[in-house]
Structures are given as structure tokens and as C-alpha cells.
């Protein structure tokens, strides 16, 4: 996968709700609503054939219940966990407030998934099911932003940690450049002001 093709897209969930659920729902509650929001997101991503990092923005959502979180977070990730239509899609959940954390963690744990969440501006966390070593390796990558192949071998001399890096890319919470072999934190592809960050090259 060449990162020069990375297409960082921003999807504002609250606007999708308005557009796709007829402006009726200001809270993300009930499974049918969650399903409608997820399908709206999938429709927006439908035409993308390149790898992409998509922002799901929950900043304007006050109430997120478990049924809706299952659709908008867990089922969305599950559907894009495998390559669809020749593209690879990565997700970052922006604006994850304290009140959202529990339903999101619960639905991720239920499906053995992990996700990257921006819980405060410029502060990214790994949520969901993760081992201690996965958490530590993800955290190290997040702090560095990008690790070249050589840096990754130096920072993680043990094979078990390097294998975790690859495992994180398989779980879609980090990515690896097919050209250079560098590992990238997903947060490097988004800006702190709500829009995609320029670039996305191999750094």
C-alpha cells in the first residue's frame, strides 16, 4: 500500500444524521438510527477505491446508546476490517467524550475490536480490546507518529513487539507503508481542526 494514495476524509456524523435520518434525531439512540447512520457512512465511502482514513465525528452527539454504538462503531469496523472493493479503510472516532466512552468500549470488547479515538483535541487513545503490549506499542507509535523500518527495529528489539506492530496494522489501528515499510499512527493523517491533515506521504 503506497501512502501517497492515502485519502484522508472527514465524515461528520451529526451532519450525516441530519441528511440521512431526516433531521429528526439529535441523539444517537436506537438500533434503526445507528443502522441508518452506518449505511450513510458506507454510502459515502462506497466510491472510494483508494486507501483512506475516515473521521467519524461524534463531537455534536450528546447521547450515544449501546445499540447505536454497536452499529456506528462496531459493525462499521467489522464491515471494513477486511478489504472491500480493493480499498482499505481506516477509521478515527473524533470527539469521543467521557459519556461516549463506555458504550464504545463495550461494543468493541464484545466483538474483540479496537479503535482509535480522539478524546480531546490532539489526544488520541486506543479503545476496545487490546493487550498490555499492544497498548504499549500503539502508544509508542502514537508518540512518534511515524517509525521507519529501522527505527521500529531499534525501538522494538524484541520480535514479539515487532509482531505486535504488524498485528496493530491488521487490526486497522495503525498502518504500514507498502513502499517504505514505515509504520504510521493514524492520527498523523488528520489535523486538529477537524479537517484532513495535508500530506500523508511516507514522512
Amino acid at each position: 500500500m503506497g501512502l501517497e494514495f492515502m485519502d484522508a476524509r472527514s465524515i461528520d456524523v451529526s451532519r450525516l444524521v441530519e441528511r440521512k435520518v431526516a433531521s429528526l434525531y439529535s441523539h444517537l439512540v436506537t438500533r434503526p438510527t445507528g443502522r441508518a447512520v452506518r449505511m450513510a457512512i458506507e454510502a459515502r465511502l462506497g466510491g472510494v477505491s483508494r486507501p483512506s482514513v475516515s473521521l467519524i465525528d461524534l463531537s455534536e452527539v450528546t447521547v450515544l446508546d449501546f445499540s447505536c454504538a454497536d452499529e456506528v462503531v462496531a459493525k462499521l469496523l467489522l464491515r471494513y476490517r477486511e478489504t472491500r472493493s480493493g480499498s482499505e479503510t481506516f477509521f478515527i472516532f473524533r470527539g469521543v467524550a467521557e459519556a461516549h466512552r463506555e458504550p464504545i468500549e463495550a461494543v468493541l470488547d464484545r466483538q474483540n475490536l479496537a479503535a482509535v479515538a480522539e478524546t480531546k483535541p490532539e489526544r488520541f487513545e486506543l479503545l476496545g480490546t487490546r493487550s498490555a503490549v499492544e497498548h504499549a506499542v500503539w502508544d509508542a507509535l502514537e508518540r512518534k507518529g511515524v517509525l521507519t523500518f529501522e527505527e521500529s527495529r531499534s525501538l522494538f528489539p524484541r520480535e514479539v513487539e515487532r509482531s505486535v506492530l504488524d498485528r496493530l496494522t491488521e487490526r486497522r489501528v495503525a498502518l504500514r507503508s507498502g513502499n517504505s515499510g514505515a509504520y504510521h499512527a493514524l492520527s498523523g493523517f488528520v489535523s486538529g481542526e477537524g479537517g484532513p491533515r495535508d500530506g500523508g506521504g511516507d514522512g
Binding site: 434525531y25 441523539h27 439512540v29 436506537t30 447521547v63 446508546d65 449501546f66 462496531a74 458504550p103 464484545r110
Partner: protein
């Protein structure tokens, strides 16, 4: 005429007495005698509506409802929106009292849940008024209104997705001075759908064999999070409600068919699992959330 005597105190504890008094269908005219009603909580209110609807379905005729002529009960029933819903269930010889035009202290009036949009309306309404009540009366943090809304959303979805029939929900805060020494928030939910045993049986009954019953179905859903849906993302709602209710040191019980299952906190003395109750359709969910005590519990 068959007379159904409504207990003077009608709540989650006395609802079974009301159910036991219902005629089986041989009576053509039924009177719900609630003239001695002195206290009723949200579980009692939605339970009374459900009982009336069951009798109407059994006899083909709306039962008559007799209410106290004075005292606080009629005004309270009016503020809780009881008469609006009761007009489709009961006949009454007396005119319901006015609801008044002042600001309401009701947390959540009796609200029919018939479709998905009803749950959105309910969450919108609760967001606007529950925060102050939760913090002032129960001393919950300001953020509790979100968790409270999630509880309401999930219990109401249980009506639509599992009962596949309409139902009612209501909530109000009371001062349980004698029983607990502090205020409580009571949520009552009732539907007349197919109940947990029938909802789950196509998917799970075979594994239980002869043990399949109302109690085992309630245990499957309440304890193990089973649903009739093969989707592994389902079944989280009740589990997460229980978790939040435990965190607030509350009690939750579900009655369905002939059984009731409950999470029982230290201050409560109900049985965790009751069976051989008088049969009643659908499911009734009763949640009691006590105020935080002075020591922060």
C-alpha cells in the same frame, strides 16, 4: 359485573396482586375499583394500564375504572398523563381533573412506545428536564442525565425489538423516607408483547429441553445476555442497564409470563428469582435508583 380490587398502594411490589385479581375472560363487564388508591408509582401506573388492556382484550369491552373522588391521587394521575392513555383502555363515569398549567415536576409522564421515533422524542424530552431533577433530588453528577437517557433508550428498545408490541414507560422521583430514608427515582416499563420466553424460544429453547420456561428464559436474557438474534452485537442492552443500575446502587427487576428476575441491592429484600406467578403477557421492567447518600454512596 366482575370487580377487580386495585391495591391502595400500587407499585412494583403489589402489581402481582392486581394481576391475580384479573378475570380470565368469563366476565363480560369488569370494574377496576381503585377508589381506595392512595399511592401509585410509575410501575403501578403502566401496570394498571396494561392490566386494563389485558381485560379489554379478554372480554372485548373496555373495563370501567373507578378512582378516588378526592385527595391527591386524581391530580397526580393527571400530571403523569394517565388519563390521556387510559381513555383508550378504560371507561370512566367521572371527568378527569385538569392537568393544570403550571410547570410540571414530572420526570417522565406515561409515554407510549410504538415506534423508533417515540424513543428519540423521549430522550429529547428527558434531556431537557432530567438533569436538574437528578442532581437536585438524587445528588447525581450532571453527567448522569446521559446515562439515564441511555437506560431509558435501551429499556424502550426492548419493547420494540423483543416484545414486538407497543408499551408504556414512565419515571418519577419520590421520597422513600420510611422505606429507605432517601429519595428514589422509579422507572416503570410495561408491554403486552410476547414476553421473553416466546421471544427467545425459536433460537434457544431446544438447548434447554424440558427446562425451558419463563424463569430460564429470563435467566438467559438477564444473566447471559441471550437474544433471539444470531448477531453477536445484540443482547448488550439489558447487561449494560444492569451495570449502570448496580453502579448507582439501584434495583432492577423484570417480570415476564410467570416469573420475575431481579438484581437486588443491600437495601432491598425482594427475591432474585421468582416463579409460578400468575401469568401476565409481555414484560414489565421496574427500576429503582436511590439518591446518593451523604457518604457519597
Amino acid at each position: 359485573m366482575k370487580v377487580v380490587s386495585v391495591p391502595p398502594t400500587l407499585d412494583g411490589r403489589t402489581f402481582d396482586r392486581l394481576v391475580e385479581a384479573l378475570p380470565e375472560g368469563d366476565a363480560s363487564k369488569v370494574l377496576f375499583d381503585a377508589r381506595r388508591l392512595r399511592w401509585v408509582d410509575p410501575m403501578g401506573l403502566v401496570g394498571l394500564l396494561s392490566a386494563g388492556a389485558v381485560v379489554q382484550a379478554r372480554t372485548g369491552e373496555a373495563p370501567l375504572l373507578g378512582l378516588p373522588e378526592g385527595g391527591e391521587v386524581p391530580g397526580y394521575l393527571s400530571r403523569m398523563g394517565f388519563f390521556r392513555e387510559a381513555s383508550a383502555v378504560f371507561r370512566s363515569d367521572s371527568k378527569p381533573p385538569s392537568r393544570g398549567s403550571g410547570p410540571s415536576d414530572v420526570l417522565l409522564e406515561i409515554t407510549p412506545i410504538k415506534e423508533n421515533g417515540d424513543i428519540h422524542d423521549l430522550v429529547d424530552r428527558v434531556q431537557g428536564r432530567a438533569g436538574a431533577i437528578l442532581s437536585r433530588s438524587l445528588h447525581y453528577p450532571a453527567t448522569a442525565v446521559v446515562q439515564f437517557s441511555v437506560i431509558l433508550s435501551e429499556v424502550c428498545q426492548n419493547i420494540l425489538e423483543h416484545a414486538e408490541a407497543p408499551g408504556w414507560v414512565a419515571a418519577q422521583v419520590y421520597n422513600w423516607t420510611q422505606r429507605l430514608g432517601r429519595p428514589v427515582l422509579v422507572i416503570g416499563v410495561s408491554d403486552l408483547g410476547r414476553g421473553f420466553r416466546r421471544s427467545l424460544e425459536s433460537e434457544h429453547a431446544a438447548r434447554f429441553g424440558d427446562r425451558w420456561s419463563d424463569p430460564s428464559a429470563l435467566e438467559a436474557a438477564f444473566i447471559h445476555g441471550l437474544t433471539r438474534f444470531p448477531d453477536s452485537g445484540r443482547g448488550q442492552g439489558i447487561q449494560q442497564i444492569r451495570k449502570q443500575v448496580r453502579r448507582w446502587e439501584g434495583a432492577i427487576s423484570i417480570r415476564s409470563g410467570t416469573a420475575r428476575i431481579a438484581d437486588v441491592p443491600d437495601w432491598d429484600d425482594q427475591e432474585p428469582l421468582g416463579s409460578d406467578l400468575h401469568p401476565f403477557p409481555g414484560a414489565q421492567i421496574h427500576i429503582v435508583l436511590p439518591a446518593r447518600s451523604d457518604d457519597g454512596a
